[in-house]
């Protein structure tokens, strides 16, 4: 059985970790209001966090499946719709605050988009490398 790649999967693992911790502690949405309620952007943050957990598991599976290139490619392929959904969640599936200056719009959304674009690029590159190996 042909072996898959390793470095792209490690990069994907690191990017998933960055997304998980980043969206919670670094580039998250607005915190709780004085009244003790959350704005809708908070739920966008939680949804991205959940999808990032799934991406972390998939990247770990792709590292574990290195000995089986086809299985690894499957896990990498599953990462792609996850990254696309993570990009679409803030502002599209779940609305954010109105003003573009607010944290959710100016920091959380661009950061989530940037990291998931990187994940898409690395996953695509790994899939292409595996497909070429199989040919």
């Amino acid at each position: 059985m042909k072996k898959g790649t390793l470095i792209p999967e490690i990069v994907l693992f690191i990017l998933s970790i960055v997304l998980i911790f980043g969206v919670k502690y670094v580039f998250g949405a607005c915190p709780m209001t004085e009244e003790g309620t959350y704005m809708s952007c908070h739920w966008a943050q939680e949804a991205v966090f959940s999808v990032a957990l799934i991406m972390l598991i998939l990247s770990l599976c792709s590292i574990a499946a290195r000995k089986n290139m086809y299985l690894q490619t499957g896990f990498l392929g599953a990462l792609i719709p996850c990254a696309v959904i993570a990009i679409l969640i803030p502002g599209n599936f779940i609305s954010l605050c109105m003003l573009s200056d607010m944290t959710c719009r100016s920091i959380m959304r661009p950061s989530v988009i940037l990291i998931n674009v990187l994940i898409l690029c690395v996953a695509d590159a790994a899939i292409i490398i595996n497909l070429r190996k199989s040919n």
Partner: protein, 401 residues
């Protein structure tokens, strides 16, 4: 030759990645730096166009609180009012006024986290000459009572219902982006603005004002366009002499101050961009030279196989071109993505007008940046390519290099 170059690149992925990374860095730095400068300049030009007025008259308290320039240029969302009699007094006593119009400002309150201050600007559609020309691009009708225009940075669209101080309004249009504080404001007619001020007063928003709030006889500022044959300085001087308890500012002076600061930043940024280009060029020059030393036998074999000097030099140039092109394309694209995504954040951090240009201009900037980065890569490989073409293959293969 291209096929062989690409095979050489694939054959040594580590070395190729390192070379491409330098071009990536160069492409990123040049485009990000250039777009920052272009964005600042465009934002300032946009603000200059939008201001429309030559002289702005505000209550005297604004100048004592040292945010007169902020009030004009950065839209410091606050409360300051004067009697609407000042408008009539200026019309009566001051010559050289071509157009004059009053505005009424209000700002929504902040909470500890997310309720951001939104400026509400009440204007008189009949006499206004600053907002109306801007609005015509997005809305052809007349703004009715309890209808508003929203700035581009507010995620509200025509037909949406909004509420300010328990006053329900309908969004008539979302305005074009300006890259300035104008994008975060809401614009409405005087009647609606007065209703909002009255509602705000019921909520005790003006408890620290120090004067009575009467929405029907209050304005926040008077905007003046000066007639031909008069200068803004002249009109401003007369207002200072004849009208009491007001402060004035020439918008031209305020914009010029920012423009001056911007020129200084621009020169420094240009210097840094050129410095980075030279630095990466020198690093690439050294990298190709070191690369050449480790590949001398490879070049000797290629020469012995029948390649001419020109073909061997051409091979190296093709490799350099391919690596520079791929690296700078990725770097420049990354810079474009980052600048687009974070332009709002950049504007709030710099606290200056910031407006990225249109898509066509961005595309041209991308191409130019890639070309400049590729030029650095190819030029740095030229010396090595020339040296490679002049090697003595026999000596090298015998090991007497």
């Amino acid at each position: 030759m291209w096929k062989l170059s690409l095979k050489n690149i694939k054959g040594s992925p580590g070395r190729s990645a390192a070379a491409a990374a330098l071009s990536l860095l160069l492409g990123f730095c040049i485009l990000a730096g250039s777009l920052s400068l272009i964005g600042l300049r465009s934002g300032l030009n946009s603000l200059n166009e939008r201001l429309g007025a030559d002289v702005m008259v505000v209550p005297y308290e604004v100048s004592t609180q040292n945010y007169l320039e902020d009030a004009i240029l950065m839209g410091n969302a606050g409360y300051y009012y004067m009697s609407s009699d000042k408008l009539d007094e200026i019309k009566e006593k001051i010559d050289g006024i071509e157009r004059i119009s009053a505005q009424l400002f209000l700002a929504t309150t902040t909470s500890s986290c997310c309720s951001y201050k939104v400026s509400i600007v009440g204007f008189d559609p009949e006499s206004d000459f600053t907002i109306t020309p801007w609005v015509q691009n997005s809305y052809a009708g007349t703004l009715g009572d309890y209808e508003v225009f929203v700035g581009h940075d507010l995620a509200a669209y025509a037909g949406d219902q909004l509420r300010f101080f328990d006053v329900d309004v309908t969004v008539a249009a979302r305005l074009d982006e300006t890259g300035t504080y104008l994008d975060t404001a809401v614009y409405t007619n005087m009647e609606t603005a007065k209703a909002m001020v009255a509602a705000a007063e019921e909520k005790n928003l003006f408890s620290n004002a120090g004067y009575d709030i009467n929405p029907d006889s209050m304005i926040s500022c008077v905007l003046i366009r000066v007639s031909e044959g008069f200068s803004a300085a002249e009109v401003e001087g007369r207002i200072k002499q004849k009208i009491s308890q007001v402060a004035t500012a020439k918008t031209e002076t305020s914009v010029e101050n920012i423009s001056g600061k911007l020129s200084g930043m621009q020169n420094i940024a240009l210097f840094l961009i050129v410095f980075v280009w030279l630095l990466i060029f020198v690093v690439e020059l050294i990298a190709y030279r070191l690369n050449f030393n480790s590949r001398m036998k490879e070049f000797a074999v290629i020469r012995v196989a029948g390649a001419s000097k020109k073909q061997l030099s051409g091979l190296l140039i093709c490799e350099a071109f391919a690596l520079s092109l791929s690296g700078s394309f990725v770097g420049s694209s990354a810079a474009l993505l980052v600048m687009e995504l974070f332009s709002g954040r950049i504007q709030s951090v710099l606290d200056m007008p910031f407006l990225l240009p249109q898509a066509a201009y961005l595309f041209v900037s991308l191409i130019v940046c890639i070309a400049v980065s590729v030029l650095a890569g190819v030029l740095s490989a030229l010396a090595t390519a020339y040296k490679a073409g002049n090697i003595d293959a026999a000596i090298i293969l015998r090991g007497e290099n």
